[in-house]
């Protein structure tokens, strides 16, 4: 199956080499490196036998925003899975989500606040259904990061559309979630809201430290608390990217990184949560 539109440049999306969360962004990074993405770009997914949210969702947002075309995986199971999760259009209604057994790609639109709120809630509930039964308090470990990261889209991105997608891997015993926008990103947000001129790496650093773009000390907790809950509390992993800089966090390793010759317009946040087997008290991480 090929998406609509003529194409001139086909970019092959290859499977990531590693299994860590950040490795799942490598196929997108390699695609972005191959030149400007335009409506004449085709993403060739034919060779893929596996797709994680951190690979899938950036491509979905590019297809939606720029109008790129795409070639579906030849592996029928992967192709069927992508159809099931509403690739590449996503869904924007919780009423559709309620009937699904898979976690769909969610498309959030600034115009309909109530629909967004219900879709985000249903997205979290579908994830919980996949993970059930969960120990006491574990639901908060899912809802909290989803809530914080989705509110950031509409508070900061200045973009009308946001995206979210999650997948549970029962054999690997972890959940991957990705939430992203194609907005102005951290650097431009600081510059436009606070007249603070920084580069992408400094902007990611400030966002992690909780520097709010809203001139308030009572804001700026979302990313930090999410990272602490997932990495310290659950032994999971976090991935944050804005512009040409990002940050990874996993138990025993936290590291900023830069993208050479590539920039992502907007913010990508992804996290990996291993199976939760113990009761979880999210209030320990609240500040």
């Amino acid at each position: 199956m090929v998406g609509s539109g003529n194409y001139m440049a086909s970019i092959k999306i290859n499977a990531p080499n590693g299994t860590q969360l950040h490795n799942q962004f490598a196929p997108v990074f390699q695609a972005l490196k191959q030149g400007p993405i335009s409506s004449e770009t085709e993403f060739d997914l034919s060779a893929l036998s596996f797709l994680s949210p951190l690979t899938t969702l950036p491509l979905v947002s590019l297809i939606h925003e720029i109008g790129c075309s795409f070639k579906m995986p030849t592996n029928s199971q992967v192709s069927s899975y992508l159809d099931t999760v509403s690739f590449p259009t996503g869904i924007s209604s919780d009423f559709v989500a309620r009937g699904m057994t898979y976690i769909p790609i969610g498309r959030l639109s600034a115009g309909d606040t109530a629909a967004n709120e219900r879709l985000i809630s249903e997205f979290g509930q579908l994830i919980l259904n996949k993970l059930a039964p969960l120990p006491l308090g574990a639901a908060n470990a899912i809802h909290y990061p989803i809530g914080e990261m989705t509110t950031n889209i509409f508070d900061h991105s200045k973009k009308d559309t946001g995206w979210m997608f999650g997948q549970y891997f029962p054999k690997k015993k972890y959940l991957d979630v990705c939430i992203l926008d194609r907005g102005r990103g951290f650097r431009r947000c600081y510059e436009e809201e606070l007249n603070l001129v920084v580069d992408d790496a400094q902007a990611v650093d400030l966002a992690l430290r909780g520097k709010s773009s809203k001139k308030s000390d009572e804001r700026g907790f979302g990313i930090w608390t999410t990272k602490r809950m997932i990495v310290e509390g659950l032994g999971g992993q976090c991935f944050i990217l804005s512009g040409s800089a990002g940050y990874i966090a996993m138990p025993g390793n936290e590291q900023p990184f830069t993208l050479k010759d590539v920039s992502w317009n907007g913010v990508i946040v992804a996290f990996r949560i291993p199976d939760i087997t113990q009761p979880f008290d999210h209030t320990r991480y609240l500040e």
Partner: protein, 134 residues
């Protein structure tokens, strides 16, 4: 006239009828969602409550499972405005323990000093190099 979204959940207390004091009860799980996430949703709610003629407002969390810290902060700001700028009485009812903890954290935060400096690693690495590491 009350916004249409409130009509179903509004009731008038008989005792207040003579004073024309209206109370509206907002079922937050129904009006927003069982998991409340975004600030903008609270801002929309705030505008509707400001526009309503009701002087007493009950925010019912009975079926709310979770609230993000950001949404809770926006809610506290909303309560402040409704009370102090618009002279309405607002009550929060039936929050579960998790929701109560987030609301308390936000409220406490507003009177506490800023937390200690957060440690963020500075060992920057090129992404391609990062992906080569085991």
């Amino acid at each position: 006239m009350l916004p249409s979204l409130f009509r179903d959940t509004m009731y008038l207390r008989n005792a207040d009828m003579t004073n024309k004091i209206q109370t509206i009860r907002v079922d937050l799980a129904e009006k927003l969602a069982p998991c409340i996430s975004t600030r903008v949703a609270i801002q929309v709610l705030r505008n509707e409550l400001v526009a309503s003629s009701a002087k007493n407002i009950v925010l019912d969390f009975q079926h709310v499972e979770s609230v993000s810290r950001s949404a809770a902060h926006e809610l506290i700001l909303t309560l402040f405005d409704l009370t102090n700028l618009f002279h309405k009485k607002v009550a929060i009812e039936n929050p579960n323990d998790g929701v109560q903890a987030v609301l308390s954290a936000v409220t406490d935060r507003s009177i506490k000093s800023k937390p200690e400096e957060r440690y963020v690693s500075q060992k920057t690495i090129d992404f391609e190099e990062l992906c080569q590491l085991a």
